[in-house]
């Protein structure tokens, strides 16, 4: 059940991205309602998959690499849909929907196996720090997606080529605002997540250096952009570039820790 629902969700995320890309194949605007509907169906299917997992395993999909990745993809898809409904523009789907589909696919390839999760108060602490962290990462990813699109469109505008990106991407100002809101939301989520994680680690004496490095790295990256935007007056290209590059760096750092830890026989997130 969980696998089928996951498959439907992945198909819908890719389908939504493909629908959002129709303007590049044919000179008509993307079907806004269609994209939102397909994305919505994907989210419902994904929710069903996660609920089926919870029903089967008896714990939230927050521990274990597969379940956590699937949950991260789910949060990103939900964030994306909310941002698009507020901005009334679906072009962000082009970048963010595949970004949601990839971890879900990976989760299903490696298997939705839970790790041994603590129970009782400790379990609640764990959930309390993972949930806002996931939200923070999803918002950060959204900021990066908007930043990436900003850079692509800026390039087209600067080079005076008025192609499909010029016609179908939202205005630079809209992408800049999405980047701003998502970066601040990401900072709030990750700050809360990191504070709760530190409290959890200290309380239960569970310290993992790679996890701390990665969490702090992610927090510093998103804090940099949020601070830059709020206090430093960053916007436009600088903010877009920083969020794209820093998110890519956070992803790379994650992959690097995964490889190193698994070679050493350990386990990283």
């Amino acid at each position: 059940m969980s696998a089928i629902a996951h498959f439907v969700a992945i198909t819908c995320y890719i389908g939504a991205a493909a629908l959002a890309a129709t303007p590049f194949a044919r000179p008509v605007g993307a079907p806004v309602r269609g994209v939102a509907a397909v994305l919505g169906i994907g989210i419902v299917a994904h929710a069903v998959a996660l609920m089926a997992y919870v029903h089967r395993v008896g714990q939230l999909p927050l521990t274990g690499l597969g379940p956590a990745l699937s949950f991260a993809g789910f949060v990103l898809a939900v964030t994306l849909l909310i941002v698009e409904l507020v901005a009334r523009d679906v072009s962000l789907t082009l970048v963010a929907a595949p970004l949601a589909a990839v971890p879900v696919t990976f989760a299903n390839v490696i298997g939705m196996a839970p790790s041994v999760a603590p129970t009782g108060a400790r379990g609640l602490w764990l959930v309390a720090h993972i949930a806002p962290s996931f939200f923070g990462i999803a918002a950060f990813a959204t900021a990066a997606a908007a930043g990436c699109m900003y850079l692509l469109e800026r390039r087209e505008l600067k080079s005076r080529r008025f192609g499909a990106i010029f016609r179908f991407f939202p205005p630079l100002d809209t992408l800049d605002r999405v980047n701003h809101v998502a970066a601040v939301a990401g900072w709030l989520g990750l700050t809360l997540g990191v504070v709760l994680a530190i409290t959890y680690s200290v309380t239960y004496r569970e310290l993992s250096v790679p996890k701390i490095i990665w969490a702090m790295g992610s927090w510093l990256a998103v804090s940099g952009i949020a601070l830059g935007r709020i206090a430093g007056g960053w916007q436009a290209r600088r903010a877009a570039l920083y969020s794209t590059v820093s998110f890519a760096a956070v992803l790379l750092l994650y992959v690097a820790f995964r490889v190193v830890e698994s070679n050493a026989g350990g386990r990283f997130l």
Partner: protein, 437 residues
Amino acid sequence: MAVIVVGVSHHGAPLEVRERLTFSPREIVAVLDRLSSDGDTTEGVVLSTCNRTELYLVEREQDASAAAWALLSEKLGGDASAYGYVRRDREAAAHLFRVASGMDSMVVGEAQIHGQVRDAWEMSRPRSGAVLNRLFQSALLTGGRVRSETELGHGALSVGSAAVQLARKIFGTLAGRRAMVLGAGEMAELALACVLEEGVQAAIVANRTFERAQVLAERYGAVAAHYEDAWPELANVDLLLCSTASPHAIVDVERIRAAVSKRGDRPLCILDIALPRDVDPAVAELDNVYLYDLDDLRGVVSANRDRRQKELPAAESIIAEEVETYWQWVAGLAAVPVVTQLREEMHRVREREVAAALQKLRELTPAQRDVVEQLGRSLTNKFLHEPSVRLRAAAANGRGLGVVDAARYLFGLDAGVEATNESGKAEQDTTKGKSTT
């Protein structure tokens, strides 16, 4: 019954002819009354815009185009038919659908005509009936489909609107933004009017001759400035429009770099519509500065025009589809009087034959007589059911009119235009009801 359009448009009639053939809203009903009282038409709608005057008519039995041309020629004071055209039935429907979609407009894809078609229909409502109500409803629907399903109406087609399109691509909306116009000539005025229309909050007009800047600024509620006073303001504006008559570039890299350094990361859009150019092209290299000159704007216009042309086949296929749907409905309408007449004739035969039979069966009780009458009614209805359904279906699926004629011949019916008109009137209220929702 035939739907025809008689008219002139910018394709064949010069402006002075079109001007003289324009009907004011007050004249429209009188014009349609005249055509109707001559006995030539049963319904009519007048579409009169600056680019076309067209009479959409539903003919009675004879050709109504002669009467329409006579009326137009009288208004023109000469032979109007030399400038115009007549389209019939499907072609007339397709023509209106193209008009409502902006495909027949001077600027292909323009949206204004859609509203003009709606207004024309509204003004002619007292004299339009089921056939034209449905035709205009379908035309408006088709126009909407063409606009939403193709890119026919997208993209700017003038340098001014291309400038606005580019600026919008950077700022989203221009409402609340600040603009500066360099120059006080005709092009500068056009540019200023254009950005103010977009909701630009504050505008500064700077010119070498301050008095000219002042005149223009006063006319548009802007602020006039000397060049020297204007340069520091560059740090605060979002949009710079340059249109001076200077023989060399007056906005150089250093000037813009100085302004940009004070602006933080805020983008600055510079639209240089002067010839020769007012802005050093090297300015485009600066970060967060978007510089476009006349060639760029013309490039946008040209690309938009090409794209609209490429969309024509897609728009044509929507029109073909909608014409087919409309014509099926019209053909279905033609079957209604034949079916009605066939049923009436058959029931008359039944009544006659049942009466004759009952005359011979005087010993029957009232209950038995009822059974015989019921039998007659039931048999007639059963015999008529299939032909009625098939006639309507055949008429609607395009094979129709021949089948309807065959039915008339086979059953000895003489369903005339009057009957059609009656059925049309019966549907008129329903159609009007729908169209107002």
